[in-house]
């Protein structure tokens, strides 16, 4: 009897806690979604008149489509490059024993601890000194300075759990070095590479301080949202924010479904 009561209590507490967390995390998102559904030009609660006008306007806006395109290209390039750098970096970080390894492990972490506004300013000074014209291309480099180490760490965690003996086994079974990489190393590190890519994309997509300094005249989604908040608020701000959240949710659920389907097929 007592045990049942204890189990009930545990279950109730778990539910209360879960609901609390969900409310705290999602309330701001819901607020911004509500703010986007107003007919009014200003940010006023409670909302008097509901409409999808601002959604239509946002979808139709050439300005918004340009900056979404810029943000996507920026995040896409950063994802590809950071994953490439991070993959080999992670092998150097966690897989191979070499002379400068422990120094490398520390040096690679430093940029992560560097405050991003300062890092952005420093990079801007460098780009000027080198005479590079500022655009989203220079922002790619700036993002990489911060994101490549993060991706390296994410993939390195997977590499730590990887037993190099399986590579030897594959080699012993007649595989060439290239085949070992393709058949064993890459597939086994795939989950880590995936999460690294996801991190790279999301960190680049949402990055404001580095883009502010280094993308020059090109505007990205976070940069635009910020400037609009400071001067010239329109409900397009919460609309674009909500769209972004929904977009991410969509991408994640498609990924989740794909993983479930792939697993079902392999079993």
């Amino acid at each position: 009897m007592n045990q049942e009561q204890a189990a009930l209590r545990t279950r109730t507490l778990l539910w209360v806690w879960t609901i609390f967390v969900i409310v705290v995390v999602y309330l701001p998102v819901v607020c911004s979604a509500l703010a986007s559904l107003t007919k009014s030009r200003y940010f006023l609660f409670p909302i008097r008149k509901w409409s999808f006008d601002w959604w239509d306007k946002t979808m139709a806006s050439i300005e918004v489509s340009t900056l979404v395109k810029t943000s996507l290209m920026l995040a896409g390039s950063v994802t590809v490059l950071a994953t490439l750098i991070g993959f080999f970096g992670a092998l150097a970080f966690a897989r191979y024993n070499w002379k400068g390894r422990s120094l490398f492990q520390k040096v690679v972490l430093l940029p992560i601890f560097f405050p991003q506004p300062v890092l952005g300013l420093a990079l801007l000074l460098w780009f000027n000194a080198l005479g590079l014209p500022l655009s989203w291309h220079t922002a790619v480099i700036a993002h990489l300075v911060w994101i490549a180490p993060v991706v390296t760490l994410v993939i390195a965690i997977q590499v730590y759990g990887f037993d190099p003996v399986v590579e030897e086994a594959a080699f012993d079974l007649g595989a060439s070095r290239l085949q070992v990489m393709k058949e064993v190393t890459l597939p086994m590190l795939w989950p880590g590479i995936w999460s690294g890519m996801l991190f790279a994309f999301l960190l680049s997509w949402g990055n404001f301080p580095l883009s502010l300094y280094t993308s020059g005249a090109d505007s990205t989604v976070p940069k635009w949202l910020f400037t609009k908040m400071i001067a010239g608020y329109t409900p397009m701000v919460p609309t674009l924010g909500t769209m972004s959240t929904l977009g991410a949710a969509l991408v994640l659920s498609i990924g989740g479904v794909a993983v479930i389907l792939a697993r079902r097929r392999s079993n």
Partner: protein, 358 residues
Amino acid sequence: MSETALMGESRQKLLLDLVGVRKTFDGFNAVERIDLSVMEGEFFTIVGPSGSGKTTLLRMLAGMDQPSDGAIYLRGESLNDMPANKRPTCLVFQSLALFPHMTVGQNIEFALKMRKIAPAARKARALELMRVVRLPETYYSKNVMKCSGGEKQRVALARAFAYDPEILLFDEPLSALDYKLRKTLEKELKDLHRETGKTFIYITHSLEEAMVMSDRIGVMRDGRLVQVGTPEEIYTKPSDKFVSEFMGEVNIVQVRPDGAGRYRSEDLAGSFTVNAPPSTDGYVVIRPEFLRFLASPSDADNHLTGRVHNEYSLGSRVQYQVRVGERMFLVEQPRRQSFGGGDVTIGWDAADAIFVAE
């Protein structure tokens, strides 16, 4: 002995020849000048304590480490510059090193896939090998990480057979299994050796395991092969104290000739009859099963007097610890006996003891 006889003279062809093989890691000699010949179709086991260099030796045979010195010949041709993926050897790792992201079938077919063999032919061969290693056909598409310890062993074995190596190398693959399963797999491995006719080189730290399976055994210590011989030779004529101790629990008495045809032990303060070459210092090795309780001291060539300290049941036998002076002796009997608290006399015949020179 009988194994060698069974194989017949025609099979006794030299397959593998190691000449002065040495391996140095940062100035430390892991393997020191090993000379060894392995015959075609032989089950050869290298046994030694951890750190004796046996894994390093095996890795050199597989091509994963290169000898610092010396050469390995396969049918007279040097293997030194041949990488692991080109050698006709295949290693079954201690951790098995199965590919966790593949099914049982994909694991077994790996070597065939690397050779670009068509999927249908691969599957047929994999199913055939699964029969050989006694894995049910339904396991073909099973996730390999969901297999039990014994099943994983079989997958690793089938995967190695699929490579069709001339020599299969084993790095203590059974050490992680429980006793009963290990015993079963030891026998199966020996059966597979007979059925396939391949050459097996097996390493283990358990001489018991080596005894069950091997045609010949090489005992390794500190990077050297101290003795090579059939299981019977190793058991009955250990070349030194180390090998005899490695055989399991034994009683060892250090002796010196007393000049009157008998041998004297300092720490037991007695002299014994020993079958040994004259005037050689050495050790008398007496297995617990050859020590017995005596009704009268004259019932055996040698005797000692002590007290029963403790007794252990070994299932089929009973082992007694007998304290003689400062020393403990192990005596094994088929049945339990009861002793009062008083002195007992234990003894052995000179023919049952083994003498190893110092």
